[in-house]
């Protein structure tokens, strides 16, 4: 292994559709108001998580596969420069061409340039997170190139001028009736008698895209895996749209994050068991295509690969967070997440939603990217995502780590103490002595005034407003526990009948002594 001897450089963060336009709490609040969205999501996530549990339980060695998957990915990260060079050499030796892109803008430029060289103005596309991340479709449109999404869910989202809301099922937030309405409105030549039967809708998509597939000269795809020891790329899919794009056109352009490598052909046996079961809850996805450079007479004659950094090297520099790059985009974490299930994917802003998005997006953009700094808080830390992750990414730990990075990054930025600082100071004063706490508690019953006749406080002021945003607080009791205790045990009315037990007397004496020591 080579040791890096140059000057350590500052991390360079990613660009493109990684930055949320608004903070998660604001976006989530709005999305939570959509009852249809919650119903669609609840149905979809529960269906898929039940299927997943079923097929995972069939494998006696599931945990061993997870262990292997996790270690392989850790090894990839440790050996990334060497593996990238090995992959490049093998892919190039078999007629492929490799391009390197520092960020979204550079990747878009490369892809647009390659398409322009073919003289074409239309391309077909396989669903790909990397091209979503760099905003390729929008960029190509500006350049006068039309990109047709060919995955059914991506097609639905594209026709509706919407954004994907899930890694695997981008149109998970829409139900069949909404999809039929989109087809009727946006799909040229759609049968006006179209029903909302999923089979009928799928056939409408087939008819709509058939001509595109058969005439396209250029296709753009992502890749699920790249095997360093053979220079092979793999795309995992279901519908056959991937096979169409990967084999029929003359030119194939693939965009892939540098972290997608696997060291050896053998490693594929691990990931092809982990991925389908974790993502769609199937033993195997219907179609997987693998290609190594160019094959004479079979498939595209011009094969390009754009290797994308776009913040991945920055994420790698975070020793605690780098395992977020182990992600194989299966989406199991979002299907079990109680937060994602209610807010949906759009609330996360970035291309990557759900638990993995809550760590990956701020790692790729830097936590200083203002709206993304709220993402690590978009979690109950219940740990369901860690249990579900096929490569054992410890998402809860990274969430907590990123929260601390966020707090540290904000420390010292404000000159005036924040409400939180003032509150913490006040709490520290009150909690440091029993007498002080007693004094504060005497004021608590005043809180009853803030509660209405239903004894509920629905709106707290200042920083505490967040707490009452989604719940009420019961009014405080008429007297504090201290007062009640004192009355029960020492009060002049009851003193004779309720003599304090010895232990209690000792505790009281101890408290009083402590107060004296504190100088209270």
């Amino acid at each position: 292994m080579s040791t890096f001897l140059g000057m350590p450089s500052l991390p360079v963060f990613g660009t493109g559709n990684l930055h949320a336009a608004e903070s998660f709490p604001t976006a989530a609040h709005r999305e939570l108001g959509n009852a249809q969205l919650r119903a669609n999501l609840g149905h979809a996530t529960h269906t898929i998580r039940d299927k997943r549990l079923q097929v995972v339980s069939e494998l006696p060695d599931w945990e061993q596969l997870r262990d292997a998957g996790s270690a392989i990915k850790e090894s990839v990260m440790a050996r990334l420069p060497e593996l990238l060079e090995q992959f490049e050499q093998n892919f190039t030796a078999r007629g492929g061409v490799i391009h390197w892109a520092r960020d979204a803008g550079e990747a878009n430029d490369i892809v647009a340039g390659l398409i322009r060289d073919t003289g074409e103005t239309e391309v077909v596309k396989v669903k790909s997170m990397a091209t979503q991340e760099i905003g390729l479709n929008e960029y190509l449109e500006e350049q006068g190139i039309t990109a047709f999404e060919t995955d059914l869910a991506e097609l639905i989202v594209q026709l509706d001028h919407d954004k994907p809301s899930h890694i695997l099922v981008p149109a998970i937030h829409k139900n069949r009736t909404e999809i039929r309405d989109i087809f009727l409105r946006e799909m040229p030549g759609a049968d006006p008698a179209l029903t909302d039967n999923p089979a009928v809708l799928a056939m409408a998509a087939r008819a709509h895209l058939r001509r595109k597939f058969l005439t396209a000269k250029v296709a753009v795809s992502g890749a699920n895996f790249a095997l360093a020891d053979s220079g092979t790329l793999a795309v995992v899919e279901s519908e056959g749209n991937g096979r169409m794009c990967l084999t029929l056109p003359e030119t194939l352009i693939t965009v892939m994050g540098v972290e997608k490598l696997l060291p050896t052909w053998q490693d594929l046996e691990v990931f092809m068991q982990l991925l389908p079961r974790s993502s769609t809850g199937e033993r195997m996805n219907p179609y997987t295509s693998l290609w190594t450079g160019v094959t004479d007479g079979d498939g595209p004659r011009n094969v390009h690969l754009v290797l994308l950094d776009n913040g991945r090297s920055a994420a790698l520099a975070d020793e605690m967070g780098r395992s977020a790059l182990h992600c194989i985009r299966c989406s199991a974490c979002m299907n079990v997440c109680p937060v994602y299930e209610r807010t949906g994917g759009h609330a996360y802003g970035s291309t990557y939603p759900g638990p993995i998005g809550a760590i990956l997006s701020p790692l790729l953009t830097g936590i200083e990217s203002e709206e993304n700094s709220s993402l690590p808080y978009a979690s109950s830390l219940c740990g369901a995502c860690y249990d579900a992750c096929p490569v054992k990414i410890n998402i809860p730990d990274i969430l907590v780590h990123l929260r601390s990075v966020d707090v540290d990054s904000k420390r010292g930025k404000k000159k005036l103490p924040s409400q939180m600082d003032v509150g913490m100071k006040a709490a520290s004063w009150a909690l440091s002595s029993g007498k002080r706490l007693g004094l504060v508690e005497k004021g608590l019953p005043l809180g009853r005034l803030a509660a209405g006749p239903d004894h509920k406080i629905t709106k707290l002021p200042g920083i505490a407003a967040g707490w009452t945003q989604s719940r009420d607080i019961p009014a405080p009791p008429q007297k504090s526990f201290r007062d009640w205790w004192a009355k029960e045990h020492h009060g002049p009315e009851t003193g004779g009948t309720n003599a304090p037990a010895r232990g209690t007397a000792r505790a009281d004496a101890h408290l009083n002594a402590q107060d004296k020591e504190d100088g209270a």
Binding site: M1, S2, F4, P8, S9, P11, N40, H43, T47, Q64, A68, A71, S75, M77, L80, P81, E85, W100, A101, E106, D151, A153, I156, R176, L201, A202, R206, L209, L214, S230, S238, E239, G240, N241, R243, M244, T247, L248, W265, E269, M272, Q273, T280, E282, M284, P286, Y287, T288, S289, L290, T292, T295, D296, G297, D298, G299, L307, D309, S313, A314
Partner: protein, 211 residues
């Protein structure tokens, strides 16, 4: 500095803590203990679960079965290297006007393939546990396009080529060939996660397992 140098430099810099690549624990299963009959039984079960149609026959019965399956097809395509016995004999004569033969040296155009009703191919390896058939572009399987564009795929699997689990199957494959793994017909679950067979790839998959 080129983007390549820049990115590799950034990555090396990110790894300045010099993490050590761990040993890969490979305690997962790498072989199955299933006998010949159990392999066939499991593969049939898994393929049927994926809505593929399956039959298990003696090798001698394969041509007759293929002829039956093709009875309604106005035309079909075969790769030049397909076992000639599979589409020969009394069931196929005279068949010249509906048969198209595809090869790397004489490929059909995409439009021609789109006009063909069915395709017959062999296969390289199958995985019983996952119901997966792997095509590796050998002469009896042909170019990837021929098993993709026609709506109906008839695929012959030699029982000897059935592996129990994925690691066993991948050991028998050259990863640098153009590979297609097929598990049932084309399918989507994009609308309310309800599985629908047949979107862009072949809508019907018939598998003949030849003993």
């Amino acid at each position: 500095m080129s983007a390549r140098e820049d990115i590799l430099g950034r990555i090396r810099s990110a790894l300045r803590d010099a993490p050590v690549a761990p040993q890969i624990p490979r305690a997962y299963r790498t072989s199955s203990e299933l006998d010949h009959d159990a392999l066939i039984h499991l593969l049939v079960d898994r393929l049927v679960d994926y809505k593929a149609r399956v039959c298990v026959l003696d090798a001698a019965e394969v041509p007759e079965r293929i002829a039956e399956l093709l009875a309604d097809a106005r035309s079909y395509v075969i790769p030049a290297g397909l076992d000639p016995d599979w589409t020969a004999g009394p069931h196929f004569a005279p068949d010249g006007d509906r048969r198209r033969v595809d090869s790397v040296s004489a490929p059909l155009t995409v439009a021609e393939l789109d006009g063909v009703d069915a395709v017959v191919t062999g296969s390289a390896v199958a995985v019983a546990e996952t119901g997966t058939i792997i095509l590796d572009g050998s002469p009896n399987q042909g170019r990837r396009a021929i098993s993709l564009v026609p709506d109906y795929h008839i695929c012959v699997v030699n029982a000897a080529d059935i592996a129990g689990i994925l690691p066993e199957a991948l050991r028998r494959i050259d990863g640098t060939r153009p590979l297609t793994m097929i598990s049932g017909p084309s399918a989507t679950s994009d609308i309310e996660l309800e599985r629908v067979e047949g979107v862009h790839g072949p809508r019907i998959l018939d598998v003949i397992i030849a003993r």
